[in-house]
Symmetry: C2
Subunit: 251 residues, 2 copies
DNA sequence: ATTGATGTTCGACAATGTCGACCACTGCTC
DNA sequence: GAGCAGTGGTCGACATTGTCGAACATCAAT
């Protein structure tokens, strides 16, 4: 691509490879995958190692992501406006709903979680910030693709028996999202789990993110697997409040 | 530096600049700081933007860190062995001590927090994972520099009136750390807060990280500002258990 | 209207990044 | 133990790319 620095693009491709899959890769494997000469790959890895973006295991010789990226990643969160404006609404939503709250945006055709409030109880939970989730199989994702043109989810993988994998079914579901202004996923990503999400709009009304609650399906939905209206209202209220702040910040 | 790719080093320098300071910088300011031509800086920023490591504000034209870094940062955590082996000891330590637990390692002459367990109560807390803390003003940091040669903390900034800023005082404190095998900071980073930390050793006994608890000084220390022996024992026990796992993994 | 800053573009060219050939080492098979 | 196939790594020639100076458009302040 003209006008960009090829070696930086190659370095980024290497980092992405290391972020996916098993997390540790050898020099030869990276070279084969990216169709680069080993000398080229080695020079890039040596440079990434020097700046702390990559570390090499001294026993196996394999490479993995380095500690400097953690600081960059969390620094990104500090300046992320979607997140900073949502935080004040996410905690109360978790308290009011009694469920975990997540805020997501689009990254590389997936949902990137930028904020996560634990369900307010004592259960063991893992933090999802930084995680990438599928667009079509999550409430957050369906909200994001319903209001975004150009997000063609190429392959609809099945995560559970309830995941929408037929393009026509997904299109109808997204039409419904646009009609009523929120989305749900009922055991579409994880068996026994459900979620509700609503769009967060930025300047000019563009959807820039989504906020949602998730938890056991029997708490998120009633006995007929319909999302509980009380939760829908809470999520939509929070989304509207955040959207107002996003819009107001630009005026 | 021979053998490395200069443009990748420059790109990393730009990302570091964006991670420090206000988080948003203009092209001209970046060029001045790094002594690069504006065309050079622009080409690097355009490339970083293309790979998602940087975003440009469409109104002000300023640049900031991009969303892709968040995913890379948290992917680093997934493969970080210090963290993955510490998790199982960190939660029980938080429960037993009733205080927040953090695990840190060295990055760029500072403490990088790689794991953080909230104090088990209802108070509002912010997650420190990814944060950089000063070595000389924290219990974690003192542990790390006590057992690491070559970590010369060049400038000892004062964070509170109790921060050790004289090299001789710090050296004596570090000698004491080596003698008794743990460190404390009593209101040295934050007024009213104290912490206790112990070293985590890897293969061959090398100190690769530290684990510590922190909280209000009246809970961490007795009325004479001495760290409570019960907490010291708990922290050291956890550190030893983790160290065994780190060592055992290599045999 | 002028000035001084900003971000952006473009083409010449010098510097750098690329890569083929080679190396040492390791693990596996026979 | 020898042979083989893989690994990560090095190095120098050279072709490609990254760099940068000059110019431009835009914007805010005076």
């Amino acid at each position: 691509m003209p006008g960009t620095v090829q070696s930086i693009e190659r370095a980024a491709a290497i980092l992405r490879m290391l972020a996916g899959g098993p997390g540790r890769l050898g020099l030869s494997e990276i070279s084969r995958s990216l169709e680069l000469a080993k000398g080229t790959t080695h020079g890039i890895l040596r440079t990434l190692q020097g700046v702390g973006f990559v570390e090499q295991d001294r026993v196996s010789g394999q490479y993995q992501l380095g500690a400097s990226l953690l600081h960059l990643g969390t620094s990104y969160l500090d300046t992320n406006e979607l997140r900073s404006r949502s935080i004040n609404w996410a905690d109360p939503l978790a308290v009011r709903s009694g469920e975990a709250v997540r805020i997501g945006t689009v990254l590389d055709g997936q949902v990137l979680i930028v904020h996560h409030v634990f369900r307010p109880d004592d259960t063991f939970q893992t933090l999802d910030v930084g995680a990438l989730l599928p667009l079509h199989a999550t409430a957050l994702g369906k909200v994001l693709i319903a209001y975004r043109t150009g997000l063609t989810t190429t392959e609809l993988a099945a995560y559970t028996r309830k995941t929408l994998i037929k393009p026509r079914e997904l299109a109808m579901a997204l039409e419904h999202v646009r009609e009523c202004g929120w989305a749900a996923d009922v055991e579409e990503l994880t068996p026994g789990q459900a979620a509700i999400a609503a769009p967060i709009r930025g300047y000019g009304g563009l959807v820039i993110g989504a906020i949602g609650v998730s938890g056991p399906v029997e708490r998120i939905c009633d006995s007929r697997y319909a999302p509980r209206p009380r939760l829908v209202t809470s999520v939509r209220d929070a989304a509207r409040a955040i959207s107002r702040e996003m819009g107001a910040a630009r005026r």
